[in-house]
Structures are given as structure tokens and as C-alpha cells.
């Protein structure tokens, strides 16, 4: 899967979780109204969609903050 495809999937799901809000690849999730329950929903999607265990790994804000960054983290894990 290409990085772009991952970004599109995350973008679609994050937008759905945020009630259809338009979000950009580089918009920080906390500025888009995402909270802990919403991020958990997004993590659950990532784990199912990409068969990755992300939630328990020691990921910081720098690995998760935007759609582009999160997609990059997933891309690296899938390599």
C-alpha cells in the first residue's frame, strides 16, 4: 500500500469520526476537536484496517498528531 493510499484511508476515517468535518492532511487532531475517545476510535480503525498494534506501542504526539504524520508512522510499520 502506498503512503498516499494510507493517508486517504486515515483522512476519510478521521473525518467520519469528527462528524464529517473537513480536515487537512496537516491539521493537528487536537485542533480539530478530537479527544481521547475519538483518538481511540481512530486507533481501533487503524488496527483493524492495517493489522497493526499501535495503541500499546510507545507512540508520542510526534507520531500521531496529523493525518500525514500518522500515515507515515503506519507506512513505516508496514514496511
Amino acid at each position: 500500500m502506498t503512503r498516499h493510499e494510507i493517508e486517504q484511508k486515515i483522512l476519510f476515517e478521521a473525518s467520519r469520526i469528527l462528524g464529517g468535518s473537513k480536515i487537512g492532511l496537516d491539521d493537528p487532531f487536537h485542533k480539530m476537536g478530537m479527544d481521547s475517545l475519538a483518538l481511540i476510535e481512530l486507533m481501533l480503525f487503524v488496527e483493524t484496517e492495517f493489522d497493526l498494534k499501535l495503541f500499546d506501542s510507545d507512540l508520542d504526539k510526534e507520531d500521531l498528531e496529523t493525518v500525514r504524520i500518522l500515515a507515515g508512522t503506519i507506512y513505516e510499520r508496514l514496511k
Partner: protein, 431 residues
Amino acid sequence: MSNRRYCFNGIDWIFFVLDGLSRKATGCGTQSQVILRLTGPLGTAQVKERLALFSRLFPVISGRYAKSWGWIPSWSYSGKVIREIPFEDVDCASDQEAMEYLYASVNKPFTHSVEHLRFIHVRTGARAYVSLVFDHCLLDAHGAQYFLWLFHQYYSGLFDPSAQYEPETELLWAGWGAQFAAGKRVACRLSEMMAAGPVKKLSIPKDLSGKKFQFRTEVFSSSQSVRIRENAYSLAGYLMVSPYLLAGSMSVFDEVFARPGKYNEDYVIQVNGDTRSRKFSLRELFFNHHSFFFLRFPGGEPFFTKTFIRKVRRSIYDAMAEGFMRDIAQAARLLRVLPKFKTDQALQSAAQNTFIFSFVNRDIQLNEFCGAKIDGVIHTPRLAVSHGVGVFFSQSDDRFAVTLVFMEGVVSDVEADIFIEKLKNVLLGGI
């Protein structure tokens, strides 16, 4: 004008039943209140006049409980508002006196069967407070904030009168199989949780007649709120504010309220969460769009450690992954077909928890209200009578506030003061 009706969802029904239990025990129902702390007073005459006009757009506010088609629990209302929202305008000598007045106001029952909202404006000199006391059968905490935000929009000439605000009825009398399956999962999970040993809880007085709920509140400054958020991100992870606040609350609860010799008892905590879509929808303004789940943690642990905060985070994740909150909302619909005394019993036995935790933080950003700047949003709910205490956090315009709720006699005034002071220190101090 013809009658309209909204069929209760499961959580609405739970609140309606709890409301009845609370009225019977204390004389007042499950009311709640959202308080906006303002930097200056409002133009009373203009706000009062606009509020009367605004409220006429929502005939649902003067509805009442009814059974549709003989048995479906519903909210029935006519096409027009038949009772305006009472407006109280009060002067108080100090902030403390203002808060005491507002704490008392949420314990004051509504005076008419179709009155479910009360608006209060309190001036204290430089500062002012606005409060909306609301019947929890009509609005939940988010809905009440939305209602005030919408009124602000209306006052400012930004309200869209063509918007659809008629509540969407959640009939859902199909899908019995799914509801039963959800009910079975909830029952299994709860009985497993409750069978795991004794639960730490505060004792509730037997005679609750005339008992009032009391409150302690703290509004954190912007810089304190930044600090709390940074602590949460560093200890619990990015955006994981809830696990941090919950672990802090447990730690202080254990220190202040846990009695000697009870350390082998576990904590069962009811965690409230919103189930409505995050994008504001007028059609989800009224009634209850939240659910809850339960978490169990062994007692006697050091609760404010990075390990424990991570454990809370993991437990919330597991509850979400297993659909606990969604299952409770779905299973609650089944309660609508039980005889009411059975629902009473079910709710009383389900309420065997240590405390309730809630964090109202959805994306409605209230920072201005009818020309005055908001510098704090506080929630003061009356709990269901079987609960001991509640710890309710809110966030608005990036500022946190916390309320400790307890029924008089359950904890002492001194303990309540200590709780808030210690909680403040713990959350700001981090580890």
C-alpha cells in the same frame, strides 16, 4: 395545533426512571445546571426579551411524558411553547454567594409539569454568572451547552431560522435480536465485574427526604489548563486527557474518602461518554445522546503513577473495542418494555459503583455569551440518588473546570474541600 411526540431512546428512559426515583426520595428530580462564568454582566432586559422569543422556536421545551400508542414511553408536546423559560435576575455580594445561590438553584424543583428549563443571571459587581438549570429528561450536558450557544447565536443575529431542530424520534422497535444480544453482553460483563469481589463505595443515608446535592468547583486558569494538558500528553499519551483526569480523581478519592480497613475493595467507576456525532446537529440538541461504561480497578494500588495512568488508558480502550458504551445504549432500549418497578430494580442494582466520572469536552467552543466574555464553564448535576459522588470535568475555550458532586451527609464539607484542593495539586503537579 396537533400534538407532536418524540419516542424516548433507552438512555432517555433511564433518565426518566431515575428522575422518578429521585423525586420520590428527595422531592426533586435529576436536574442539572450549566454555569457560564462571565467577566461582566449582561444587558438584562434585552437578554430576557430575546430569550422569550428564542424559546418560542422550540415547542419541545414545554412537553411532558406520555405513553404513545398506549405503551411506548414518549415526550409529547404541542406545536407552540405553552410556558416560557423563567428568568431570574439576582444580585449577590460576592462570587462565593453567587455560587451558593446557583448550587441551591439546581436543587429547586421546577414549579410546573411542563417547565423544564430555568435561566438565571447573577451579578456580583465586576463578574457575572449565567446558568441554565435543565431537566435531564429534556437535555443532556452537551445539549444544554449547545442550547446556550444557539441562544448566543440568536442574540448575535447569527441563528439560522430555517435549520431543522425538530428532534428525530428514535423509535427503533425493530432489531430486537441485536438489542437482546447487546443486553446479554452487558449483563455478562456487569455480572462478571460485580462478582469479582466487594466494591468500594460511599454509604448513602437511608432517609433521603429533602436531601440536597452539594458541590465544590474549581475553574483552572488558561496556564493551569495548558499544564494539565501537557502532563496528560506526557504521562498518558497524545490527546489522552480523560485517562489522566480519571487516574488523578481516583488517587485523590482513595486518599480522602477511602476508609481504613477497606483497602481490599475494588473501584468500579461509571464513565460517561457522548455518543452523538461530533459535528453539531440541531436534531440532536434535545434529549440524551450519551451513554456510559464501567471500569473496575483493584483497590489499594498507588493510583497516580505512569503505570496506572496507562492501565486506565488501556481499560478505556478495551471498553471501546468491545463496544461496551454502544451496547449499554442499545440494551437500554429493552428497558422500555419492562414494567417500571423492574426498571427501578435494574437501575438500582446497576448503580453499585464507587463514583461517576464525566468529561464534557466536545467541540462547542463557548468563549463569549451575549456580549460578555466567558472565563469558565461549570456543570453542577444532581446525581441519581443511589450514587455517592460524581467527579465532573468540563472544558471550554481550552480551560478545564471540575465539580465534585455529593449528596449532603455522604461526605463532610471538610473532606469535600480537601478533595478539590488535593485534586488541583495532583493534576497540576503531574508525577
